[in-house]
Every structure is written in structure tokens, then in C-alpha cells.
Symmetry: C2
Subunit: 199 residues, 2 copies
């Protein structure tokens, strides 16, 4: 059975984007440092974080705003792992209340739009993933919501050295959860934390 992993980059004060996040500024504004470990780092620890994530992924679940951001022109970064090798690309399940009119990446990526909520999306993703992992890659509302609903087996937080003050909070309304610290990897630009979520 696959493991369901919420995987997201967070500031030390708990934000997963800067302020003013929208389709054109998926990561918010004035928060470039937040994702520096993924976008700008040559540190082997950071590269291995991305590589290991990609290699283990059997399916990806994302929220609608995250989808809109990656499907926008110029939105998807080939360097983020899944883009480089089409054969190795996992299927993507998008939690949304309505299908988009057009999908820019439809020719190269396998998107399924799930209209009946995160739990249904995770069921479909588990089925598609086989023995590999299901990654809930964002945004913050979806990862936090899956944690709140008891749907995550594991939480992987890439902790960036930023105090943003404003933005999209990861844990708003997530409630009380005991974690088990499973693995911590340290690069020059982030601390990569992996926790098991205790049931």
C-alpha cells in the first residue's frame, strides 16, 4: 500500500507562500527565498531531496490554485523534477469544484480532475500509484486540510530560513496532531524535515 505524503516548503513562521499569491505569482510576492532550495540551489542535499521525491512518486495530488499556477503559460518548471522525463511522469489528480476549460499541459501530462473532494482524490491517486508514494504537493490549504482530515501518513516540510509575516499559512485550522520525527536533512539553504503523522 502506498504512503500518502504531504510535501511542502514552509517559512519558519509557517507560511507556504508570500503575500499576494495568485495564478501569476503562485509562490506569492517578495518571498523568493522561500523556494530557493528547490529553484536556485546546487547543494547536493537539496538536489537529492527533489530527486528522491520524484523517484518515489506514484501519483501527485494538488489543489486547483496550484494546478492553475503550473498550467499557466511559463508556469511549470521543468526543473522541478517531473517535467524532464515524460515516461517517468506520474499521473496528477487535481482537487477542484469545476473542470478547467482548457489544459495547456494536456499533451504531456496526465491530469485527472476530481470534483468530490480530497479524500476521493487520494483514493484515486492511491489506486494509480500502486506501491509507490502519493504526494500531496500543495497548496497549503490542501496539505493542511488533508492533515486536519487525517488523510496524511507523512508530512515532509522543507523549512526555509525566512520569517514572512504574511502569506498562506499551512496549519490554519489543522488542529492537534502528534508527529514522529523520522528524518532530517540539512543543506546550506533549508532544513528538510520528514515526520510520520501519528494516527
Amino acid at each position: 500500500m502506498s504512503t500518502v505524503i504531504g510535501d511542502i516548503t514552509m517559512s519558519v513562521d509557517g507560511f507556504v507562500t508570500g503575500p499576494g499569491a495568485d495564478v501569476e505569482h503562485g509562490l506569492g510576492r517578495d518571498a523568493e527565498g522561500l523556494h530557493a532550495w528547490a529553484l536556485d540551489s546546487a547543494d547536493p542535499v537539496d538536489r537529492e531531496e527533489l530527486r528522491s521525491l520524484t523517484a518515489a512518486t506514484g501519483a501527485v495530488v494538488m489543489g486547483r490554485r496550484t494546478f492553475d499556477t503550473v498550467d499557466a503559460p511559463g508556469g511549470w518548471s521543468e526543473e522541478l523534477g517531473y517535467g524532464a522525463d515524460q515516461d517517468g511522469r506520474p499521473p496528477f489528480f487535481v482537487v477542484t469544484s469545476s473542470r478547467p476549460d482548457r489544459v495547456r499541459l494536456a499533451g504531456s501530462h496526465d491530469f485527472t480532475f476530481v470534483l468530490d473532494g480530497p479524500a476521493a482524490a487520494l483514493r484515486a491517486a492511491r489506486e494509480a500509484a500502486g506501491d509507490r508514494d502519493v504526494y500531496v504537493m500543495g497548496g497549503g490549504m490542501l496539505v493542511g486540510g488533508c492533515l486536519a482530515a487525517g488523510l496524511l501518513d507523512r508530512l515532509r516540510i522543507h523549512l526555509s530560513p525566512e520569517v514572512l509575516g504574511r502569506g498562506t499559512p499551512l496549519f490554519a485550522g489543522a488542529g492537534r496532531h502528534r508527529l514522529v520525527q523520522r528524518d532530517v536533512r540539512v543543506s546550506a539553504s533549508a532544513t528538510h524535515l520528514t515526520y510520520d503523522v501519528r494516527r
Copy 2:
């Protein structure tokens, strides 16, 4: 010149106590795991965190609620480092709006009550500390307030594997700050993060 270090234990969702913190429950309720690394751990990494903090401390600054908690009967834990060796005990500066009527620990600890705010307390503490470090040890409002006011050189966060959902937030109103990840140490029960605060 001494370094001013904000040092505090925090949950993954940014709380430094559980809900319902008061003088008798200084760490809040239902949040025992938060401080397990300091109170219950035999892990050599955790012990060294406490030891190195104590050894480098030239003066300690704390808020009034933290003082009331440690000065309450049974409140001060000798195991938290400063209690064990009276000669090695640093002076303590308490930020408060009024002097307490009595100080239980007055015979064994050197408390100064500073009535004109955190910056004044830090000035006095720096003077007392000489070349050693000044530790702002809590509570969360004081550490977050010192960060917001640009008074911290360094932020040391002991990150515990807990999502508390409620409690005393560290960063409420702290604003935007760029950090530099300086040192990360990992024990079985916490990740000890040290950041320089960029000016």
C-alpha cells in the same frame, strides 16, 4: 560585544506553549511533548543543547509571565541548567510593568526588574554579560517582540514534532525577517535550529 539570542521551543505550527498557559501551567496544557527534548530526553544532542546554552550565557532576559512561572513554588526546574551551580548562574533581567511583591528565588538568583521595556532590559543585560551571550529565554511574546523590534542577533528554535493547533504563537506580529541558517542539530526528539537574523 555579546550576541543577543532569542532561544525558545516551538511546535511545527509555531506555538511555544499549549493552550491555557498560566502561572501554574507555564507551558500550557496538553503539550507535554513540546518540551520533552529539554525535560525528559537523555539524548546526548539534547543534553549538549542545554549545556552549551548554559555555558555561553552571560545574562538572561525574560518576560513577566515567564518569571512568575519560574518563581512560583515548584516552578523552577533545577535541571534546566542554571539551577545546578549557583556560582555559574547568570543575572536575570525581567521585563515587567511592575515589581513583584516577593521573589521566592531572591536568595539564590539575581533578578533585576526592568520597567521600561525590552530594549532597556537588553541594554542592562548586555552590560552585565560582558563578552558572553545574552539569552532571551521567553516567553513567546517577548522573543517575538524582540525579533519584531530588531533586537535579536540570533534566533535559536528547538523544533518539536508537534502540531498543537492552539497556544501561544511565537511570530504573531513579528513582521518580515530574513534569516541565515547557521547551525542545525538533530536529536531523536527535536531539531535544534540556529539562525542569524539579517539586519
